[in-house]
Subunit: 146 residues, 2 copies
DNA sequence: ATGACTGCAAACGATTTGCAGAATC
DNA sequence: GATTCTGCAAATCGTTTGCAGTCAT
């Protein structure tokens, strides 16, 4: 509901303008992170007039307010609504899917003292559709490794 | 030793040119990742003539050959010599330090099926020098969370 | 009515590409 | 000697900034 978002924004000292509610509402509908360009294009194609600059500025504000989290995806930044509280993100480089997980279960001895914030890798679904790199084929060990 | 690097490059189908050995040798001396601009500047200030374009092209080749790994650092890409074999990287957003760790110890139930490649966060040293965010001060839980 | 928000166009930094000359194999 | 590599300058991509007009409070 807009009033909810508006209150959320207001409580954080920022004006609840139409464009901001637009971006916030759009992000609430997305399961995966979206880039500024994507958000901009989607909103425009939906008939909403908003500038790319405003999208960037709004996202920066939402990130600072901890309402949205930013992920690096290839050469660009993608944004997603984010729950508050101590958690970290599992980000798949293949499909871009993001899963929030509890960090406490991920800190064995090898990472002692290191606060995990994001984990990048490949999810099970994308692992299956990976190029066939079976041992014995391609540039594997045994060919010319030193 | 140069001959070693040269052989390494040759065995991967790429010419062992002076510039490539230059970049490779430089990276071997670095403990932390370095950006293309940093590599370029350091080599030049050392008296070696090399173009920024060549640095980028060489790095791309070394990454494809699995000799070097690329890390996203703020708005740029940083590169570091990388051991082959199954391992993942622990990258500190504060100081940029990278540690290679064995991934097998990092896959509890919550990440089942997910292949971890990189972990971003904050190392213990940087955690201590963080801004004083004590509970009760600032935008902590209990203020207006919904 | 004031001050913050918005949009356009230009600026910006990192990276890539086109093409002529120089190196390697 | 053919092919690949190299460097410069220009182009590209994502993002930020300057400034005048618009909106929310």
């Amino acid at each position: 509901m807009d009033h909810q978002d508006a209150r959320e924004l207001r409580s954080r000292g920022m004006a609840a303008t139409g464009r901001r509610l637009l971006v916030l509402r759009f992000l609430r509908l997305q399961r995966e992170p979206r880039s500024a360009a994507e958000i901009h294009a989607c909103l425009r194609s939906h008939g909403d007039h908003i500038g790319l600059t405003t999208v960037y500025r709004t996202l920066a504000i939402l990130v600072r307010a901890d309402l949205v989290h930013a992920f690096k995806r290839n050469g660009e930044t993608a944004y997603r609504i984010c729950n508050r509280g101590r958690h970290c993100h599992l980000v798949c480089r293949g499909c871009g899917a993001v899963t929030e997980i509890v960090a406490s279960g991920l800190e064995p001895a090898s990472t002692a003292g290191f606060r995990i914030e994001e984990i990048y890798g490949t999810c099970s679904a994308c692992l299956e559709s990976e190029p066939p790199v079976r041992p014995g084929t391609g540039p594997g060990p045994g060919s010319s490794a030193g």
